[in-house]
Amino acid sequence: MTCRILQPRATGHSPVAAFVRRALSTVVAVALAGPAAAEMRFNFPEPVTPLARETLAIHNEFMLIITTLFVVVFAIMIYSMVRHRKSAGHPPARFTGPRGALQWFWALVPFAILLFIDFVLMGIPAVQAIISMEDTKTRADMVLKVTGMQWKWQYEYPDSGIKFISTLSTPREQISNADAKGEHYLLEVDKPVVLPVGKKVRVLLTSTDVIHTWWVPQFGVKRDAIPGFLRETWVQIEKPGIYRGQCAELCGKDHGFMPVVVHAVPEEEYLAWVEQQKLAASAAAGSAERAWSRDELVAEGKKTYDKVCVACHQADGQGLAPAFPPLAASKVVNGPLLDMNGKVIPGSHVDRVMNGKAGTAMQAFRETLSDVELASVITYERNAFGNKMGDMIQPAQIKALR
């Protein structure tokens, strides 16, 4: 589902008053119950990959070092603030720097300690961690390709040809506070990535529009997905489970609404999942060959629209002016479908959906959507939101246009 935000509920109360009431009650609750009652976390979540374990160990060591530095340095300062006060009758000294070998020695000791901390205590584990972070290729068992797009993730398994889009599944009523929020509010998707436990997965990242960042805290992995470039990282999950993360780079309107959910399963379960996905894919490919009725296409197209298009163009097809134009009564959508020879007309509806529009958020869906999805969503848009073109385009026609 998407995240076009609803206006405050009409409950008879003013939304501001409701907000203030909720604010007050939360303050009181937090103040009374204190941190003990709340599920507050003061450190990284439990690590489940070698990288995450290494990062947590480094982090804990660093926190110990900087906390010690903080306490020692400011204990000295506070001692001075207590003892060397005018009101305590302390006469001011006049020294302006170290005098003599002994004072110089004591003035330089802190810097020797600091250099040791920087380049040995912190530096050596840091360099080791960098080398293991960047070692994406050695003994990699499989590849997962992650493509960021506004505002969803596409996952691709090049070895088995599986490819799908994963979007937020939190209902918009929860986001607008009309419904109670579920346990995994904003961290749940319609179709999670499935990865085998114990295998080294080389993760390749790219993007189709702006920069996104793929982040799963429990994996110790955060890497940017950059349009036009491939970046890589790796995960080797040690424990079955469901791991949740989010896009971490501001990528526009719904940046806060594109979670990452990974299901880590034992290998046999993973292989079964792969087989099932392949079957579903071949069934879909078969259906692309046959002729579809317009009603079928419209029904199928609505599903794709609600998943891929609705964040910008909105459920009612009205868009969000001025960045995201309306589809309802749009000249492009209500224009001709194809030219006389069955070819794409530049700037037409089919062209926009397949090839995008440069310089705008409208991206090319040629590679990311299947023949059925493209044909159905185009047909749907031409026959919904008050558009009454009455025409349709077949998956087979899309295939021919590619």
């Binding site: 995240c3 935000i5 405050p8 907000f19 604010a23 939360t26 599920e39 003061f42 450190n43 979540p45 990062t55 660093f62 900087i66 903080f70 400011f74 300062m77 001075s80 060397h84 006060r85 005018k86 009101s87 302390h90 001011p92 000294a93 006049r94 020294f95 302006t96 720097g97 802190p110 600091l114 920087d118 380049f119 912190m122 840091a126 960098i130 972070m133 929860q174 986001i175 929020k181 529009d209 702006v210 920069i211 110790g220 940017d224 950059i226 036009g228 470039f229 989010q246 896009c247 501001l250 526009g252 309107k253 940046h255 806060g256 609404f257 002016a321 001025p322 960045a323 310089g359 958020a361």
Partner: protein, 532 residues
């Protein structure tokens, strides 16, 4: 070197002296211009603060209550630009205008008309930054810059006209800063009192001198980067478009080549003024003057060679990661020199804790947290977790609020008696200090934990496990914001009246500025003092 010629005492016969608004529009007097900079900074501080209080209100609890994500994104980016370019930098320039001529025994800034122009570029730039919000109310455009203050391409190529407004505002602000910097460098190099060698220059002037060089070195790079962005947006160039042979990461390199030194641009003037306050209220000369000067220079140089630590997660070769990590860690050495000298200046002094001293000590402790967390952020592996998260948000607010804004407040309380001739209310000042310190930590300490737990920055809504810390942070932010009204009130009443301040307003204060009356005459040091 100094200029030997001085003006005779000038009673201004026939001198054109307009009154009212025209006086402020046409003034070339460094004190008037300093006052205008500081007033502008205070106003914009509240503008930027109001924006972020709206953001914190939205983040008080999960779900979207007050605003749409688009508007949220605009607020966070404009908040940062306003606070950095329209509050903190003008405040520092205001200090420089007021104090550098007084401290170095110069009659005025070297280039008074440039000075006037430099200030009057600011209001139009501030209007450009905020106007898109107003235009959007009338249905024109889609609001202000919504990319965060970093303008990252290609998001900024895709955005609306708010981005063009912000690009032009940054250009104007940059021109203003470069003019101010040229003025400060020329003044310090040429107009010091006879006998004031560079190694007798007050530390505040040294801090500003390094800042001015950094501004001149790096602002043109930012100007270039945003101009390339502008042509990518409107004239079909492909600097940052991979499909056209460009590179989105190039933008990040250019931006942070400016952006990292910018941190020190904001902080060096503060590091310059803190030792004056510590020495005054410890009644003891500064410890390690020479070491502090060299630390300023070292930090200035290091600051332009570490930029890529702002985007380790974008991916770069291992040698680059290691280089940027260690060069960043190396900054801890000159910074530690400063901390060492600050504490050694207090050591065995005869301290008293008036408001400026309280703020200076608060600055040292809280800025210490920024420095130490900065040290661990330099580590590439740990940074992979901290980066883009609330940990970074907390870190840079400890640097720029506790380090920058509280440093500026130290300076305001310290010099306010000099500027106005009145003492401010010590009671209100102490209330302001304690409320600020407590609510600041209440606001930003929880954000460290939010970041560690996995909350990304710049999101308008969040998962349920982040709710408690966000609620606490919002409460802290509102107390923090409201307690700044005490500051504004205290400053305003001090301008209006109060107990008479002496020329040497503080018992232990040393330096040329304290040789003058409080307030100093409109034209001061017309005969330059001679330093022995």
């Amino acid at each position: 070197m100094s200029i030997a010629t001085t003006h005779p005492a000038d009673p201004h016969p026939g001198h054109y002296q307009p009154a009212g608004l025209l006086r402020w529009l046409t003034t070339t007097n460094h004190k008037d211009i300093g006052t205008m900079y500081l007033t502008f900074a205070l106003v914009m501080f509240f503008v930027g603060g109001a924006m972020i209080l709206a953001v914190r209100a939205e983040l008080f609890s999960p779900g979207l209550q007050l605003m749409q994500p688009e508007f949220f994104n605009q607020l966070i980016g404009i908040h940062a630009l306003v606070m950095i370019f329209a509050a903190l930098m003008p405040a520092a320039t205001g200090f420089a205008n007021w104090m550098i001529p007084l401290m170095i025994g110069a009659p005025d800034m070297a280039l008074p008309r440039l000075n006037n122009w430099g200030f009057w570029l600011l209001p139009p730039a501030a209007i450009l930054l905020t106007l898109p919000f107003v235009l959007a109310l009338f249905g024109i455009g889609d609001g202000a810059l919504a990319t965060g203050w970093t303008f990252y391409a290609p998001l900024s190529v895709q955005g609306g006209m708010g981005i063009d407004f912000a690009i032009l505002a940054v250009h104007i602000l940059g021109i203003s800063s470069i003019m101010g910097s040229i003025n400060i460098i020329v003044t310090i190099f040429n107009m010091r009192a006879p006998g004031m060698t560079m190694m007798k220059l007050p530390l505040f002037a040294w801090g500003w001198l390094i800042t001015a060089f950094l501004l001149i070195a790096t602002l043109p790079v930012l100007a270039g980067a945003v101009t390339m962005l502008l042509t990518d947006r409107h004239f079909g160039t492909h600097f940052f478009n991979a499909a056209g042979g460009g590179d989105p990461i190039l933008f990040q390199h250019l931006f942070w080549f400016f952006g990292h030194p910018e941190v020190y641009i904001l902080l060096l003037p503060v590091w310059g003024l803190i030792p004056h306050v510590l020495a005054t209220f410890s009644r003891k000369p500064n410890y390690g003057y020479t070491a502090q000067v060299y630390a300023f220079i070292a930090i200035g140089i290091l600051s332009v060679v570490v930029w890529a630590h702002h985007f380790f997660t974008a991916g770069m070769p291992i040698p680059a990661l290691i280089y940027f990590m260690f060069s960043t860690m190396a900054i801890s050495v000159p910074l530690a020199v400063l901390f060492f000298c600050w504490i050694a200046t207090m050591w065995k002094g005869a301290m008293s804790f008036e408001t400026p001293m309280l703020f200076a000590v608060g600055f040292i402790v809280l800025f210490g947290i920024a420095g130490l967390t900065g040290l661990i952020l330099a580590d590439v592996a740990a940074d992979a977790q901290y980066h883009h998260s609330y940990f970074v948000v907390a870190h840079f607010h400890y640097a720029l609020f506790a380090g920058g804004i509280m440093g500026v407040m130290t300076g305001v309380y310290y010099w306010l008696p000099k500027w106005t001739g009145h003492m401010y209310s010590e009671t209100l000042g102490k209330w302001h200090f304690w409320l600020t310190v407590v609510s600041f930590n209440l606001t930003f300490m929880p954000q460290f934990f939010l970041g560690l737990a996995g909350m990304p920055r710049r999101i308008p809504d969040y998962a349920l496990q982040f709710a408690e810390f966000n609620a606490i942070s919002t409460v802290g932010a509102f107390v923090l914001g409201l307690s700044q009204l005490l500051f504004a009130w205290n400053v305003w009443s001090c301008v209006r009246g109060g107990p008479k301040a002496e020329g040497r307003a503080w018992e232990g204060a040393e330096g040329l500025e304290w040789e003058l009356s409080s307030p100093p005459p409109h034209h001061s040091w017309e005969t330059q003092p001679v330093i022995k």
